[in-house]
């Protein structure tokens, strides 16, 4: 037998606190000393991450559907208006030289569709009754590319050319008019004269939006311009983008390009209630996430309280042979980190798999879908994988778990090796 090993000179007293392969292996194997508990805890972490990513992805899916639905009806993603039009939507505040601007915008690669509109408040009369209405002059061909209103015609057809009009369903009922009837529009022109037009109704639309159905009348743009003394001008250039996520970026770019006289407004400015609702729902979801993280924190706390209790004799031995309490605690935090990583792997894997699958097939909405169809929403929801949450949820879990493990682990500081070893004997 060789005894050379005993003759090696005494090592230095330097301590190394860095994680070495042994400490990592030790932490990993310790996790599997209680398989069931580790799977349960890591599974809980994974499931929470999945729930977070899934919930957020569904929400993003719903929101983009809602936003898409809302913007495609009529408003578009961006609108170019006269600087004062937002505060004073008077006939005077127009965008000049509209056709050249329109032509230029149509060449922009990020703009899918552009439509010029002119609008004014006027009195609309049927045979017997008169109501105030929003009269809007539109270019039917361009309008079809930008707005879904042409698809919401419930009787008759959408505008073609000439002196024809489409009318909101409620307004039609109020005026007691229908397809084929003539209405008279009476307002004041840009120069102060009387603007009047007698015009035939060719279609009735039902958009599901009460305001529009009750007050909107669309006519052909040129007829409108003629009647209201407008030249090559309109009040709104509505823009539909190829990617609505680019709304804010494009708004800034266009505003810079167009200068002071015109103002570029985004859908969230045009429909502030829509964005407020999205923000509110997301805040609610975030609170739910925090509660979920708290639940996981309790379960991890419990797991580590058990671990520290069960392994106290081992910790006594480790303290006895010269391991410091801080090193044991670090070791336990490393175990918590590995457990978290296991949960993160499970959760992220499951999220990516399920969400990308559903993003492709869509989630049928069943009875709710029936209801939504009335509002021209699709009957399937397509969740959109929330990359931000895919990162944020694991980070939230990691921090919660480290804190949860640290509390029971602190007990190691007060362990006396002699006491723990005696308890073991």
């Amino acid at each position: 037998m060789s005894t050379e090993a005993l003759a090696v000179p005494r090592p230095g007293v330097a301590r190394r606190s860095a994680f070495t392969p042994i400490t990592v292996a030790l932490a990993w194997r310790n996790l599997w000393r209680s398989r069931r508990r580790t799977w349960l805890t890591a599974g809980g972490v994974g499931f929470s991450i999945f729930i977070m990513v899934f919930a957020w992805s569904m929400q993003v899916g719903t929101f983009s559907l809602m936003i898409d639905n809302a913007t495609s009806l009529i408003s578009g993603h961006l609108q170019i208006q006269h600087r004062s039009f937002a505060d004073d939507p008077g006939l005077r505040n127009t965008v000049r030289d509209a056709s050249s601007l329109l032509a230029e915008l149509e060449l922009h690669p990020e703009i899918e569709a552009v439509a010029l509109r002119a609008q004014a408040f006027a009195l609309v009369s049927g045979d017997e009754r008169t109501f105030g209405a929003q009269v809007m002059g539109v270019d039917p061909i361009r309008e079809r590319r930008l707005s879904s209103l042409p698809d919401r015609i419930v009787s008759g057809r959408y505008l073609a050319t000439g002196r024809e009009a489409i009318i909101g369903a409620t307004l039609a009922v109020n005026l007691a008019v229908g397809v084929g009837d003539e209405v008279v529009v009476l307002g004041s022109g840009k120069d102060g004269g009387i603007a009047a037009m007698a015009i035939e109704i060719v279609g009735v639309f039902d958009s599901g939006i009460i305001d529009l159905d009750r007050s909107l009348l669309q006519v052909e743009l040129r007829a409108f311009q003629e009647a209201f003394d407008l030249t090559d001008e309109g009040h709104v250039l509505a823009l539909r983008l190829t990617d609505f996520e680019r709304t804010d970026a494009l708004k800034v770019a266009l505003q810079q390009r167009l200068g002071e006289g015109l103002s570029v407004r985004s859908w969230s400015e045009l429909m502030p209630e829509l964005e407020q609702m999205v923000g509110l729902k997301q805040a609610g979801t975030e609170i739910f996430f925090v509660l979920l993280a708290l639940l996981v924190t309790f379960s991890v706390f419990n797991t580590f309280a058990m671990t520290v209790f069960e392994r106290s004799r081992e910790f006594g031995m480790l303290l006895a042979v010269g391991m410091r309490p801080g090193q044991i605690m670090l070791q336990l935090q490393l175990e918590a980190a590995l457990m978290c990583l296991l949960g993160v792997a499970l959760g992220v894997g499951m999220s990516v798999l399920v969400v990308s699958l559903m993003a492709r097939t869509g989630i049928p909405l069943g009875d709710v879908g029936e209801l939504l169809r009335q509002y021209h929403m699709p009957d399937r929801l397509y969740p959109s994988l929330a990359h931000g949450v895919l990162v944020a949820a694991p980070v939230l879990m990691f921090v919660s778990i480290q804190l949860a493990a640290a509390i029971p682990t602190l007990r190691v500081r007060h362990m006396q090796p002699a006491t723990e070893l005696r308890a073991a004997a």
Partner: protein, 234 residues
């Protein structure tokens, strides 16, 4: 006179945690010279473990002091005691010596890692140590896959791989049969003789005492006899 590895003066340890204070050790003076192999005997509750714990820096005396290798333990804080245990003392307990999820070699390496020995040297020395203790072929087994005697050999390997000045063993053979006990004691004897490692072992077992060169008897926390062995086994 040989240099003193351990030097205890007026050691008293009173446990206060129960309703009645227990005087586990009363005014004990005790020295260990370099190279000694001492057995500590006495009835259960006589204070053997208490004395070992005080000498090993696992516990602090109620009064009196211990010097290890010239350092008074009363001058050390918790971290200092921890370092002393790591670098100057080797421990072998009755049970629960090893980390169950690490192999024999990893258990031995682990202690050197705490000392900051480089990965390559750790491995070399762990393997060489296990070889020299005759359990090189068991290096990759975990404690659960080893017999009690084999586990105690690994514990000895871990205890001496750090080159301690003193090896403390608290009833290391209590869970072993007589044949394995003899093998373990022969190993300790070899370590003591060939490498001059000072050994203090608490024991009930006359066989164990047979291997020691000096016998100390405790009773009710006091040393009642302390004599050189007339003859030594093996």
């Amino acid at each position: 006179m040989a240099e003193l590895v351990a030097n205890c003066r007026g050691l008293t340890r009173i446990y206060q945690d129960d309703a009645v204070p227990v005087q586990a050790l009363v005014d004990v003076d005790f020295d260990l010279a370099a190279g000694e192999f001492v057995s500590l005997a006495g009835p259960s509750g006589s204070g053997k473990s208490t004395l070992l714990n005080l000498i090993g820096g696992l516990d602090r005396p109620t009064s009196g002091d211990v010097c290890i290798d010239g350092v008074a333990l009363s001058t050390l804080n918790e971290a200092g005691l921890s370092d002393l245990r790591l670098n100057k003392i080797g421990f072998v307990f009755q049970a629960y010596n090893l980390i169950p999820v690490l192999s024999a070699r990893e258990n031995v390496e682990f202690i050197m890692q705490l000392q900051g020995v480089s990965a390559r040297k750790r491995r070399e020395r762990a393997v060489a140590m296990l070889d020299s203790l005759g359990i090189g072929d068991l290096a990759e087994r975990r404690p659960g896959e080893l017999s009690g005697g084999q586990q105690q050999r690994v514990a000895v390997a871990r205890a001496i791989v750090t080159h301690p000045v003193l090896l403390l063993a608290d009833e290391p053979s209590a869970n072993l049969d007589s044949k394995t006990t003899a093998e373990l004691l022969e190993l300790l004897t070899r370590i003591n003789r060939e490498h001059g490692v000072t050994i203090l072992t608490a024991t009930h077992d006359p066989v164990v005492m047979g291997y020691a060169l000096r016998h100390v008897q405790l009773r009710d926390g006091r040393i009642v006899s302390d004599e050189k062995a007339d003859s030594v086994a093996a």
